[in-house]
């Protein structure tokens, strides 16, 4: 598979939390290359691999949803008032191009305050002040837009220098791509245990898709493939990994220490670059749900370092996605 192309096409698909179908349909069409036993249940994409019923049952997850906005009100003049769907940085909203997922997709722009009205340029708007201009009257808007429609930042994806890519929803479409690439690497191999791939909904609003899918899947071991912070000059080295230096393996009180160590050891043995990401409690990823599913599971986070998280200009290095996929594949080849 062409990993870069896969990431870029996943990134262009729209899928705000709770409205992931476009991204999910694209992802399942890609997953079908590797298994016929796959389907969408309650929005989650699920695919089965390996020796059915054979322990341990390994779950590999990446979330399919992305942050966005939701329509809460249409004003008398036809502007849309909104609320956030996931962790939105209000500072970056003004003058962004968006698509309202109405009966038909409607292009819009987030209103910004013109300079003659703004005496204080350091002010950040409250979410209640954010409104979207779709160039329609209220009557026109109501014909195509309903309250509850999701709003996505107009998708884009570009190649930067080297192997770096920028796009709107690399969190976590690059994780989805890493999972697909891992299954691509092991497609000729006979796996010794049961493996289930989960591309889950609603991570950004509280890991809800992961919770209900894990209940059905009942994994013994769960790998949460997500993104984490790559260092930028305005951030702290204590919180960030480094772009281009490989998969970030999570160590945290809520993760299984032996599993984390096993991934570190596999990375070293296979000469794959890796970084250790230490968290001091829960992880803010789907791993938090998997570890306490039913009677419990051993969980680890495998994260692709990403810059500018939750802005429409996220940046990753394709090599980090490839190395994350290789690490997952190496694990699958030896887990029994």
């Amino acid at each position: 598979m062409d990993l870069e192309k896969t990431i870029m096409s996943l990134c262009l698909a729209k899928g705000v939390s709770g409205d992931e179908s476009e991204a999910a349909e694209l992802a399942i069409s890609m997953l079908k290359e590797y298994t016929d036993d796959c389907y969408i249940k309650n929005g989650n994409v699920i695919g089965h691999f390996g020796a059915k019923g054979k322990k341990p049952h390994v779950l590999i997850d990446a979330h399919i949803d992305q942050i966005g906005l939701v329509v809460t009100h249409i004003t008398e003049e036809g502007f849309l008032k909104v609320s956030n769907c996931g962790g939105i940085d209000r500072r970056i909203l003004a003058a962004q191009q968006v698509i309202v997922m109405g009966k038909v997709p409607v292009n819009g722009v987030i209103c910004s305050v013109p300079p003659h009205l703004e005496t204080d340029e350091s002010k950040v708007p409250e979410m209640s002040d954010i409104c979207i201009d779709v160039g329609m009257s209220k009557e026109q808007a109501e014909q195509v837009i309903s309250l509850g429609d999701k709003i996505v930042f107009t998708p884009h994806c570009e190649k930067l220098l080297g192997d770096r890519i920028s796009g709107t929803s690399l969190d976590d479409r690059c994780g989805v791509a890493a999972v697909l690439r891992a299954m691509d690497i092991v497609k000729e191999k006979t796996l010794q245990c049961e493996v289930t791939v989960l591309l889950s909904t609603q991570e950004e609003v509280g890991e809800r898709g992961a919770k209900i899918a894990a209940f059905d899947i009942e994994p013994d071991i769960a790998l949460a493939v997500d993104v984490s912070f790559a260092l930028t000059s305005d951030d702290s080295e204590l919180k960030c990994g480094k772009m281009g230096k490989g998969c970030m393996i999570g160590f945290a009180p809520s993760l299984d220490r032996e599993l984390s160590k096993q991934f570190k050891e596999i990375a070293e043995r296979n000469e794959l670059p890796y970084q250790i990401e230490v968290m001091n409690g829960s992880t803010g990823t789907n791993a938090d749900r998997f570890s306490v599913n039913k009677g419990g599971a051993k969980a680890v986070t495998l994260s692709v370092p990403l810059k500018y998280m939750h802005t429409p200009a996220e940046v990753i290095s394709v090599s980090d996605v490839e190395n994350t996929a290789r690490l997952i594949a190496a694990y699958l080849e030896e887990v029994k």
């Binding site: 004003t75 003049e77 502007f79 962790g87 939105i88 940085d89 209000r90 500072r91 970056i92 003004a94 003058a95 962004q96 191009q97 292009n107 722009v109 209103c111 910004s112 305050v113 013109p114 300079p115 003659h116 009205l117 703004e118 340029e121 350091s122 950040v124 002040d129 409104c131 201009d133 779709v134 160039g135 329609m136 026109q140 107009t154 884009h156 570009e158 190649k159 930067l160 220098l161 080297g162 920028s166 912070f229 930028t232 000059s233 305005d234 951030d235 702290s236 919180k239 960030c240 281009g244 803010g284 810059k307 500018y308 998280m309 939750h310 802005t311 429409p312 200009a313 996220e314 940046v315």
Partner: protein, 340 residues
């Protein structure tokens, strides 16, 4: 209004001092319909023959440049520090894709992840002194292979005109004026007149100053875009002007007190011909009129502007009906002013 022409013009990148591609495009469209020259600053001065000789020399002007950013240094980690070219609110600069330099490198202006911000940081808007562009360079040495100090940085925005005539995209200020003038030059005009496509409006009305000196007109029309604030965040007179209410003709802004007779004439013509016309409810902003009306011994000047929301941001919004009203009013005013 030729929608394709407007779209193509808006999508060209050309900030102040870097208008070359806009100029080349305009020349390709007008060269068979007028005599033109390019002055030392880069202004296009085009003489259009009409059916008759005009009693007064009338100059009609629009600016080619748009707001943008400029690379001021390369940091150790390969990111680029930026300054604004023209009036950009730094709050509309972060979290979006950009195009860097003459070769059109893709980049982004990012922002530290919201997860890692303090409550205070979340409530504080960025400043140009703290933002930077990322082209994916691993370090300073790699970035310097592709970028030179002084390279321009442009927002990468889509451009759209919907079926109900809603126009959105970058640089409508003032490629709308350029598009309208190209169409006038390509049409039959009743009288001779001079068209100037000028540079560097956004950094202090600089191109229009030399163009007006060279042309030495009796009267002038500036075709522009002006701030409309008819959005939920503003009420009453703070809205300044509104989309869908027609061409904006000001009596006064921060750079010009407009010629009273021309101001009244615009009202008469608009009502006589049924052209939408409004005025601003605030004294705000400014445009090339500021340089033109005090050129040499003085030039009687009027500005006809398209109301435009989110001016100087990566996505301006306008209405096609207003653009058409501006064109109609400009054509009618031009005809009258030639014979005043």
């Amino acid at each position: 209004m030729d929608k394709e022409l407007l779209k193509e013009l808006c999508l060209i990148n050309g900030t102040s001092g870097d208008e070359d591609k806009v100029r080349e495009y305009i020349i390709s469209k007008i060269k068979d319909f007028c005599e033109y020259k390019v002055d030392p600053l880069g202004n296009i001065i085009a003489e259009k023959k009409g059916a008759d000789r005009a009693k007064n020399k009338v100059m009609i002007s629009a600016h080619m440049d748009e707001v943008g950013m400029i690379v001021t240094s390369v940091k150790a980690d390969g990111t680029l520090t930026l300054s604004a070219v023209g009036g950009i609110d730094p709050r509309v600069a972060i979290g979006r894709p950009v195009v860097v330099g003459e070769s059109g490198l893709c980049g982004v202006i990012g922002s530290k992840a919201v997860h890692n911000m303090t409550d205070e940081e979340k409530k504080t808007a960025p400043k140009f002194s703290t933002i930077y562009a990322d082209i994916g360079a691993a370090d300073k040495a790699e970035a310097e292979k592709y970028v030179q100090l002084g390279d321009r940085v442009y927002f990468k925005s889509g451009f759209e005109i919907t079926e109900n005539g809603f126009v959105s995209g970058k640089a409508i200020d003032d490629r709308f004026g350029c598009a309208a003038m190209i169409e006038m030059i390509r049409s039959e005009l009743p009288y001779d007149c001079t068209f100037t496509f000028v540079v560097q409006e956004e950094v202090g009305l600089r191109g229009s100053r030399t163009a007006a000196f060279t042309v030495d007109p009796d009267l002038a029309i500036v075709l522009e875009s002006t701030t409309a604030a008819d959005i939920p965040l503003a009420e009453g007179e703070k809205r300044c002007c509104e989309l869908g209410k027609g061409a904006v003709v000001s009596y006064m802004d921060r750079s010009t007190i407009y010629d009273k007779e021309l101001y009244r004439l615009s009202a008469e013509i608009a009502s006589e011909k049924g052209i939408g016309r409004q005025t601003k409810t605030m004294v705000a902003g400014g445009n090339d009129s500021g340089a033109i009306h005090i050129s040499k011994g003085g030039v009687r000047t009027i500005a006809i502007s398209a109301p435009c929301r989110y001016l100087h941001s990566p996505v301006c919004a306008a209405r096609l009906s207003d653009l058409k009203d501006c064109e109609k009013l400009a054509a009618a005013m031009l005809e009258k002013m030639c014979q005043l």
